[in-house]
Point group: C2
Chain length 162, copies 2
Amino acid sequence: MATTSASKSSSLSARELRAWRGMLRAHAALTKALDADLEAQHGIPLTSYEVLLLLADAPDHRMRMSDLADAVLLSRSGLTRLVDRMARDGLLERETCDSDARGAYARITPAGLTLLAAARRTHLAGVRARFLDHVAADEQDLLGSCWERVLGDSAEDGVACG
Amino acid sequence: MATTSASKSSSLSARELRAWRGMLRAHAALTKALDADLEAQHGIPLTSYEVLLLLADAPDHRMRMSDLADAVLLSRSGLTRLVDRMARDGLLERETCDSDARGAYARITPAGLTLLAAARRTHLAGVRARFLDHVAADEQDLLGSCWERVLGDSAEDGVACG
DNA sequence: CAGCGCTGGTTGCGCGAACAATCACTCTTG
DNA sequence: CAAGAGTGATTGTTCGCGCAACCAGCGCTG
């Protein structure tokens, strides 16, 4: 089954399996390890870190709840709860939106910024050591283009026809 | 690390971001979509499908609980519960290990094999349509080699040193 | 400006997974 | 062969998440 062509059969080729299951395993291993790093050194899970990162980079250090939910790949309710926990820990605070009384902002606090500054180093070092350092620059470009193709398609609903 | 050298700073380059966050997003989108496919068309989640697949391919159509847990990236207890549910649904059954009375096998049932045969087509089509079709053969090879490098390293504990 | 659909956000609920403790059994070792 | 260390699997508990239901406020329409 040298070429992959005729084998749209009942199983994947070795090459396809390596690419596909490799990604699943790599993702699992990476997120688990990076999450453990943050938890151990700064006491926050990866999701909280990502929220802090987005808020810190956002104008006025704040974002709307919905935008934040989309950005961190969480459901609306999931983000509500996450923000609850982070607010309880003083990492951010809610802020009402004056132009739309329904809306709410999450704004990162000075404490959150301080924690982020430290966590950012940890996380970045982890991402480099565990992932980027194993992938040459041109490979990174290729990966990036693959993701864009994959995401561009999966954004549009399901398998659809065929 | 040619051009990226000096930038081991406090943030990732655009290229690095594209490769890294792209993977996170692609993984999330893919697993979510593939899980939804299976759930909608066959009533089983992705994790159950993977268990069925492994059991079907295993000698005697059975595997030890621990091996299964490792293979599907689940904790021991998580797998125990998953096997509970699948056994309740008749997709597999537990079997005691005669060489070690502590051990247990999970063995796929005829019903499980039947369901798998159908689900396999759905899942394979999904993986191809959503992922593999967007990645050329030589890119798949390159991805595979990247995953091996990443996993080979992360398998050995933490960041550690050499 | 009253009525009504729509949107942003929060809450009730259930599920799936991990961690720690536990049980059952095996394998040493004296 | 009895005692203790080690291993395979299960159970108790907790947690984070998504879905569905909900409430509040916006904005259109007549």
